[in-house]
Symmetry: C2
Subunit: 350 residues, 2 copies
């Protein structure tokens, strides 16, 4: 297969981890006889420093002309600590999600049996956890109108959802549940928010077309408890942009390292693949960041194009690395393997 892949390394540890994912894709090309071409483009703080714009027009064009996008990470402390910054690196990512209409973020939370010990949760609680979060990605409070009064004393963010925005991701989530353990949990705050009540109304109607799927609702505060107390109860979680952001990071923590989980951001026309984790600028360039989340993002990319055997080859190689303790310090504090050594081992085992 021929695939045109855009690489967006971004900020912080993005470039280092993405480079390992590319090594793995190249190994897949060789082993399975595919032909992928890679085009790199800039986004985030790096792009701001070069062009003043966190999502340069050229980057957007390159993305639109490719089959899929592999994304690194975004954000730097420099802008985080400055509440007055008018433009921020994250806007590049948010704008890209919007411009490519990537309305659905798919975030699988699955325990690596080799890493059971790394979880902060007790073994009996975590063992067998396997769920996936469908997070709405282009609506809600992330994209509603933002205001700051002229005298700078009152600020607001609008959370808005339409039937169309809710139903398109709800269908994806129901379909996923149908092919998994047939359970869909909608997380919201329906006892307080009007938008949550609209979610419930629309999702319950759509549910009638998926009679094999058991539908339940969970308030967001309770969900944050349940993910810790009994994560095994979940199959597919469907939620809005903000709750999805918080719960998916919480989900990644139960796996023991933030450096392990990949995600897919899907729309009708485009697809982007990226780690759960952030830009972790503090360790940038030190060759100690865990590349596995980024490598597994490449596997999700392959799955997206039906290259399931190829994706499986990556997953098996990752598993081998973990079993052999060939991992970065976040997993194995005594490790002497760096980001690129872990990437080498995994790609050589594909």
């Amino acid at each position: 297969m021929n695939l045109n892949i855009t690489l967006l390394p971004g900020d912080g540890i993005g470039p280092e981890v993405l480079a390992q994912a590319v090594k793995c894709l190249q190994a897949v090309e060789e082993t399975f006889g595919h032909n992928f071409t890679y085009t790199e483009a800039s986004i985030g703080a790096v792009a701001m420093d070069q062009t003043g714009n966190p999502l340069p027009e050229e980057t957007l064009e390159i993305c639109k002309n490719s089959d899929a996008i592999l994304f690194g990470t975004i954000g730097t402390l420099k802008y985080d600590d400055n509440p007055d910054a008018k433009v921020r690196p994250e806007q590049g990512l948010l704008q890209l999600r919007m411009d490519l209409n990537l309305f659905s973020s798919i975030r699988p939370v699955k325990i690596f049996p080799t890493l059971l010990e790394k979880s902060p949760l007790k073994k009996e609680i975590i063992l067998g956890t396997d769920f996936v979060i469908y997070r709405e990605l282009t609506g809600g409070i992330y994209f509603g109108e933002k205001k700051l009064s002229a005298d700078g004393t009152v600020a607001s963010d609008l959370c808005q959802y339409s039937e169309r925005e809710i139903s398109r991701i709800a269908h994806l989530a129901f379909k996923a549940a149908k092919n998994r353990k047939q359970k869909l949990t909608v997380v919201d705050k329906a006892n307080v928010l009007e938008t949550s009540r609209l979610w419930r109304k629309i999702v319950s109607k759509i549910g009638e077309s998926y009679p094999e799927v058991t539908l339940e609702y969970l308030l967001a505060d309770n969900a944050a408890m349940q993910i810790m107390l009994n994560p095994k109860q979940f199959d597919v979680i469907l939620t809005d942009n903000l709750f999805g952001d918080i719960l998916s990071d919480q989900g990644s923590a139960i796996c023991g390292s933030k450096g392990l989980l990949p995600s897919a951001s899907i729309g009708n026309d485009y697809a982007m693949f990226e780690p759960f984790h952030g830009s972790y600028t503090q360790v940038q360039g030190q060759n100690i960041a865990n590349p596995i989340a980024s490598i597994l993002s490449a596997a999700m990319l392959l799955n997206h194009f039906g290259l399931n055997e190829e994706a499986q080859a990556i997953i098996v190689a990752v598993d081998k690395a973990l079993r052999k303790n060939i991992s970065t310090k976040d997993i194995n504090p005594a490790s002497t393997y760096g980001t690129s050594q872990v990437g080498d081992f995994i790609s050589q085992n594909i």
Copy 2:
């Protein structure tokens, strides 16, 4: 001391657990020679069934004429499952918070040494955890304008904060941190939300008046991870209404049972005390709900009026019950002690 206390049992397990808290207050009266009077009033689904209003005018008047309020729990499944309900029990609580201007919810998260084993988190992670969440309680997305389009296809909730709303709770949180471990962590989503950036700006300015307090910022998604990975790092967490709702429930889960933690809702003129946990209607009337959160709310009430020795007597009695395994089934599945037996034991040991 003479105290005029309003009792608001509310829905679900509220009445049962509140009754145990009252037993303990009565024991305190006797042992320490105080004189408390109790006036009961209705709120929530119970009040709706009686008057159509989840916060009857009479209830509000009684609250305003008392020194403090002891609250049970609110909400029933009947309304949760009906997205079309125009009035909901929770509005009674939200309206009460607003009308009494209870702008600050104080939620301590502390591990009971006797219950270490009950936490879903590993012992070494949880041991020594002791932080308190200052959650803004009368602003943000909870109280901003809510809209539903005439055709029912678009809904919105406005999240709004003013300098005044932020600074009054920030001062309380800084003062608390000053008297504790001198660290304040502000949780927000400043890389996305305008309101979060206003929080940062105002809090960092106020911080200049508290030079002994170390101020740090944490994004809400990261906070949800950190509470699981390393809860010991926190001293005082300051956050908005919605993030505070989610994170405090997550905080209660790390303690092993939702039935243990109390909270205080404080304004300039009134104070209300209530459990973290919800109305848990499923077990209502079965005498199996854990009364400890409600009993410890009564202790927080006593602390509020400087009756620290009295509060301590309650805490010691709770501890004794836990050490002697006199607890409800959520803590000790083989237990034969019900809600009222636990309440009896604790009140008799004051």
